[in-house]
Symmetry: C2
Subunit: 599 residues, 2 copies
């Protein structure tokens, strides 16, 4: 259960404080109250807190002050509601919920709406529950959405577990579950897939919000059909027209600024120029890597960015507070500084640059000038969840051999083509040489090998193929157990020996990312929690991930988001060519395809 009593359980105390019969626990004096209900700044305001909730907000709270009341002199600073991330995946930070909370609290984030989609691909419902339970231990609010699409591409991949309708029904009864996670299978909704509609029905029958994910530029009948299916929000829009259409259809438009998503600037003009009612717009991050959290910020960064895109600061703040809360039916619980709500707030000296000078959640002082003042609590991860890289045996170079179909000297093959700054890949075709009965990559033409190593059930399965675009030189390999969405292991390399070394290394450390050259390890990020997350601090993980990126560059890779490109190569829902544990995937026609081209 949440560690804060319900408003109605402590209403009597709040009344007593508001009217002056009992002293408040905390009183903030002389703040510029950012009122997101009225959309005003109210100077010279006092705010009284009792039992973790706001009890009194208004002029002089002198009558709420007793001998033991903690007084905070705001000296005219803005009191801003704690920031909410309307849609995000904790796993993208490579951190457990406790470590993620630790990283974002100093940035003023006091609420996350988190979809544990990644761990659910590894550990299924149990993984969701582990995230959920650790989330409830945090000093900020982490509401969980139950992942909806696992596998994300049925028949084209084998995740560590699947989510059934009964799992969704069960999760809807857990205290921290706020809705259904992003309904990524939009073609499934448009075609009326019964399993997906049953998941939506389970969430709606429980009164919960259904998350959307419509990743297509088509705003015609398919989009309308998706909206008619029930998803209540979408964060996949990238253009003003996407934003406008979602709002008109009665969906929330979630605008992302993540580590690699830049979807606020193009869409926010729907408000700043087209003049749409802003209440349906919500800011979110979707995916933030540890380096972004440590170096740039979190929701403070998103709000700041929205303001630089021309959005009024008070409107931008509504998009990161009240709008998000209202969307999830939590308007009377979080998202504003008003009586009864959780006492989550920031003190800041400027609404445009939004420095986060102090952070309070549930009335507790959590951070000051970027420094965390409290420890977050780790959950109880069972041993097996920390040993989720299950190879049947140590791999050897031969496991990465691609046998030629004949003895023709060369052969026509399909190659996954990485495209700079884009998630979709190209479906390339080329001819490769055969040596000793094996098809060989070609360093000169930047064609190296890629392998999908099964890691959930210890099947010993290795799927081998070719990839182009990383620019690797020398004898090297990079392996990662972050491998969306099924999260097996992706190994990319110029040399089969190095590929085996890298894969075995991740098995030994129970997951993460490692890069090898000439028989030695250049960098390692250990992510033993389900092979996705670390229990260490954000800055340590970020530093390691930084060294890994640097090593990739040393090996010749000049891509902007090289690690992300690597980790998305097994994502069969995005065109054009992907790899999975079942084989090479034609992600245009959504079917398995052979490595060797037909003439």
């Amino acid at each position: 259960m949440h560690s804060i009593p319900a408003w109605h359980e402590i209403a009597e105390e709040l009344i007593d404080v508001a009217v002056g019969r009992k002293p408040a626990d905390l009183v903030v004096r002389n703040a510029a109250w950012v009122n997101v209900h009225s959309r005003e700044v109210l100077k010279n305001s006092d705010i009284a807190v009792s039992n973790g909730r706001f009890a009194y907000c208004g002029a002089d709270a002198g009558h709420c002050v007793g001998a033991d009341t903690v007084i905070v002199e705001a000296d005219g600073m803005y009191a801003v509601p704690g920031l909410c991330d309307g849609h995000m995946h904790i796993e993208s930070g490579m951190l457990t919920p406790a470590r993620f909370a630790e990283a974002v609290i100093p940035h003023g984030t006091t609420t996350l709406f988190a979809d544990p989609h990644e761990i659910a691909n590894v550990l299924g419902l149990q993984g969701v529950r582990l995230m959920h339970d650790e989330a409830l231990l945090q000093p900020i609010n982490i509401f969980m959405q139950m992942p909806s699409c696992i596998p994300s591409a049925p028949g084209l991949e084998t995740p560590g577990a699947t989510i059934r309708v009964e799992d969704v029904e069960e999760a809807m009864r857990w205290p921290g579950i706020i809705g259904l996670g992003e309904m990524m299978n939009f073609p499934g909704i448009v075609s009326g897939d019964g399993h997906l509609l049953a998941e939506i029905a389970a969430a709606r029958a429980a009164g919960k919000t259904v998350g959307g994910h419509y990743a297509s530029p088509d705003l015609g009948a398919d989009f309308h059909a998706y909206a008619a299916g029930g998803p209540a929000d979408d964060h996949e829009g990238t253009r003003e027209a996407d934003a406008v259409m979602r709002i008109r259809q009665g969906m929330r438009c979630m605008m992302r600024l993540g580590s690699a998503w830049y979807d606020v600037e193009k869409q926010i003009t729907a408000v700043t120029e087209k003049g749409l009612d802003p209440r349906g717009f919500i800011l979110c991050t979707d995916d933030c890597h540890p380096g972004t959290l440590v170096g740039e910020g979190h929701m403070d960064r998103v709000v700041r960015h929205a303001v630089t895109c021309g959005c009024e600061p008070l409107v931008a703040l509504q998009m990161a507070t009240l709008n998000s809360a209202a969307h999830f039916g939590l308007e009377r619980e979080i998202g504003s500084i008003a009586p009864g709500r959780r006492a989550d707030f920031i003190l800041s000296s400027c609404l445009r640059t939004l420095p986060v000078e102090a952070v309070y959640a549930r009335g507790r002082h959590l951070a000051e000038n970027g420094g965390l003042l409290v420890a977050t609590t780790h959950g109880d991860w069972p041993e097996h969840a920390l040993r989720m890289v299950n190879l049947k045996r140590d791999l050897v170079a031969d496991d990465f051999c691609i046998k030629a179909p004949g003895n023709t000297g060369e052969v026509a093959v399909k190659v996954i083509g990485v495209v700079e700054n884009q998630a979709p890949t190209k479906h390339l075709q080329t001819t490769l040489a055969i040596r000793d009965g094996r098809v060989e990559g070609c360093r000169e033409r930047d064609i190296c090998q890629i392998a999908l190593v099964e890691r959930h059930r210890g099947t010993g399965g290795v799927i081998n193929a070719f990839v182009s675009g990383f620019g690797y030189t020398g004898r090297m390999a990079l392996a990662s157990t972050i491998a969306h969405d099924s999260h097996h292991m992706i190994v990319v390399g110029t040399d089969r020996e190095q590929m085996a070394l890298a894969a075995n290394r991740l098995a030994a450390v129970h997951g993460g990312m490692t890069i090898w050259r000439d028989g030695g390890e250049l960098a390692l990020v250990e992510l033993p929690v389900a092979g996705l997350m670390s229990q260490r601090r954000a800055r340590d993980v970020a530093a390691e991930a930084g060294r890994l990126s640097a090593a990739m560059a040393e090996c010749g890779c000049q891509l902007n988001n090289a690690l992300m490109q690597h980790s998305l190569l097994a994502l069969p829902v995005i065109p054009e060519l992907r790899i999975s544990d079942l084989g090479l995937v034609d992600a245009v026609d959504f079917r398995l395809t052979s490595l060797f081209s037909e003439i």
Copy 2:
């Protein structure tokens, strides 16, 4: 149960229609779509309906049209979401839910948020259930709030039934209950009354909205304490400052235009001039008499009025649609024209004057140019609910005698002073003559008798006192079983014989209002349903009520809302002097008081 399936139960059909696989039931062509989400008018829009819900809203819905699809050519008319009354009492219309629905549908009202407070005072939980069950039979949406304050003034009156916390808990499980009715006992909340807070807790534990009612101009600590107690809205504000304060405290500001409430004009400046975010403002009627419904309209009248007060039509419409729906957690169910929502809409040729040219609810064509096209369904009222005027025996003139405390020739008495156009009364003091041991009213000084006749338990109780301000002349009496809040019977007259005749007449017809002069009945409104409502048509009841008002004027009464003034004389929660079944009530100090003044 509501007669419309849940969105998620028919999602597949909606998808099929939206994408063009199945034909819609109804398609509106070429409408100017009033989009309350984006706050835009979208010309040349089509709207497709299936299974009572919107399936497709956008450009050309030709793909949704089949051989059996009903086509409505809007010819450019505005398609407006059906109007919602955010807070109201059906009983004020003197009509049952079926008859009330019949009266308001042609005015474009498709949703009522109704608090059956009046019948609950007569029949308790059973009365609420009877209203609730009839409400669910209607072709429009009537959501019920569970009344919270019965009695409204504990210790000062005896209603026909009381509402316990267990009753609230039970009602929260009924399908049509949307929240807790207006928390009128605001001093009780401020003092932390356990019973009231337990009712709020029961509603909140069920996830329902708690209605407010803070009828005081004091915006200091008491108001803040009330907000901290949990009521989520308030409709008792009358000034801009009231509106502003409610919004700032995170409450909804409900603005009334009822038959006798004119609270929009003064408060809407908070939006139109002060520029507050309008999303927290909601339009409502609170109380509409049948004459208003028949002669002036319902929510169409309120929206029209808001526009004449300077509000942008689209903003005013949001206040009567989306804002109301969102407040009650029904944003994905009603309040907008968007996929999945109940297909409740109006066609109108002008957003400023808002003529209601056609009304559809759940996709059914209910009214055209003011004429109703369907019959509403009556509930199953048990016989005893139609016989709720239980006098112990026929009354006689002597029952209205006020015995003098001594034989002094004259005596100092307290007199209830009616004030034109105001709900509060004056606590007057004067001296009256004693004749034959009885204290007599004084026609010359406009002091006549008032009696509170017990009618719920047949106790035979009659409380006699004096009232001034009606201006009655001649030998007359007016009796009414609409007698807020306990709804016994209030009889006001210049002559004890006439008072007995009037009271007995209401007993014979099982409630209503009657006026007598010189032994003959001038006018009668029969309200046999709990002594509050009629099962006849609004226009018939309105005509009778009109004749009654005319008869009051014939008898010398020149007050603007004479009937309402009469019916409020037993309401002990509004200052200064009232009458109840327990005696004369000092409604300033909230205690019973003697009729005779102390020297």
